[in-house]
């Protein structure tokens, strides 16, 4: 199986005197569904940030989608990010844009023609059951609805990798279930690699998943 992520002796830190992830080795194959768990402050989100290049490795090697992120150039990082879908706990939607435009963002960045992008947005809004909210702004929607918009944006450009940071952290049961279904669908139908940072793995998931647990700066593959 091809590897989407390969980490060798990877160390991560925000400052020179404190290492959060210490010389870890792991890999993730194409089409894997991976959960990363750990206590608060263990470095789950830090690891996820490093996977989309928001945090550069302190030491070691981290290859994502064939791109070495240690010392990566801005243009290569942009190229990689165009093939990744990210779901943030705080949604990170552009408040002054409609939800349609937010979902369209990765499509326009990837050079889609506007009409094609608009059709795709329509489909995605139906997919996340928000077609009745078209033309609205993020702040006019509930937290659960905003996260579904963020989910639609992450899926819009058929990425090779979806990274989700506690995507259901603050959501009601209905929205949470919808998010898990969407992630599951992307993984099983499109063979998209999915990496989810979470406190709790949902019991209702119907995919064969891997489970990494972070503790004291080390990663343990539990399943």
């Amino acid at each position: 199986m091809d590897k989407v992520i390969v980490a060798k002796d990877l160390s991560l830190s925000y400052s020179s005197n404190e290492t959060i992830i210490n010389k870890v080795n792991f890999s993730v194959g194409t089409g894997d569904f991976v959960f990363i768990t750990g206590a608060s402050g263990s470095g789950k989100s830090t690891l996820l940030k490093s996977l989309y290049g928001a945090l550069k490795p302190k030491q070691g090697s981290l290859i994502v989608g064939g791109v070495e992120l240690n010392g990566v150039s801005r243009s290569k990082l942009n190229f990689l990010r165009r093939h990744i879908g990210i779901v943030f706990q705080d949604y990170k939607l552009v408040k002054e844009w409609t939800i349609d435009k937010n979902i369209m963002l990765p499509l326009l960045i990837n050079g889609y023609v506007k009409n094609v992008a608009l059709n795709q947005v329509d489909k995605l809004l139906k997919h996340v059951r928000l077609n009745h909210q078209t033309g609205k702004y993020p702040l006019e929607l509930s937290g659960g609805e905003q996260q579904r918009v963020a989910m639609a944006r992450a899926l819009a450009h058929n990425p090779i990798l979806i990274l989700a940071d506690e995507p259901t952290g603050n959501l009601d049961e209905y929205s949470s279930q919808l998010i898990w279904n969407l992630l599951e669908g992307a993984n099983t139908q499109l063979k998209t690699t999915v990496i989810v940072v979470t406190h709790q793995i949902p019991k209702t998931l119907n995919v064969d998943y891997k489970h990494f647990h972070i503790e004291y700066g080390s990663i343990h593959e539990i399943r």
């Binding site: 928001a54 990010r81 552009v94 990765p106 960045i109």
Partner: protein, 270 residues
Amino acid sequence: MKSVKNHLSLVIALLSILFSMQVFFIVERSINAYKVTLANNYSVIAVSKKELSSSDFASINKIISDAKELSTDSVIKRLTSDIKSTNAELLKLTLPRFYKLTLTHYPTPQETKRLRSDLLDESSITKVEDFSHTHDTTYKLLLLFKKVVALFTVVVLVVTLLLIFKELRIWQYKHNERMTIMGLFGAALWLRSAVLFRLAIVDALIASFMAFGIFIYLSSHHWVVEQFNNIGISVVVFNPVDDFLVILAVAMVISILLASLIVIGHKEEA
């Protein structure tokens, strides 16, 4: 309404810079036009023992554009009542020649001093009257006026630039989140900054056209025309092509510089 507010703060700041800049140009043009009028009215009197031509004077100092010999007839006429006609003829021959020198431009006090000295270096010239006291006072007044306007323009520029830098911080705050989100999805720098540059260019255009409208109105306003007529000068208040291009260029440079500073100062949130 929100969109108007977005534009208004930068447009007003740009407009005040453009306005003060154009006012400075108008004052500069007025002073230059007034200097031409003064130069036409101003002349130096030179007394020479022998006849000198305009070119002789021009070779003494290049500032001299023309030399006209003043007639001594009126002086002789007054004296002829008391003396014989043959003596009057003799007197006419022995009288020195008086020349009224006109200059190419209104001279600075240093140029006047130099001119006087050059003229007196010429052996045939015995006396020079440059009316330097009156001349110095007028010239110093003009310079003072120009300096006050320049100072006023600089003060407006500094205050407005401070306002623009304050606006820059607001813009930075407003655009940072969107630029970060776009960056997280791999948008190239030009795409992340496109909205900002579009806003800056639109604001520069709005401010330039507003300045264009204001100065076109002012240039034909009877009060403004009357003020220039009163001091006997004719000034181009606003050239719709040249001045507009300068205004547009200044507005574009300032707003694009502002947008570039925001882009350079943008730090991506992790």
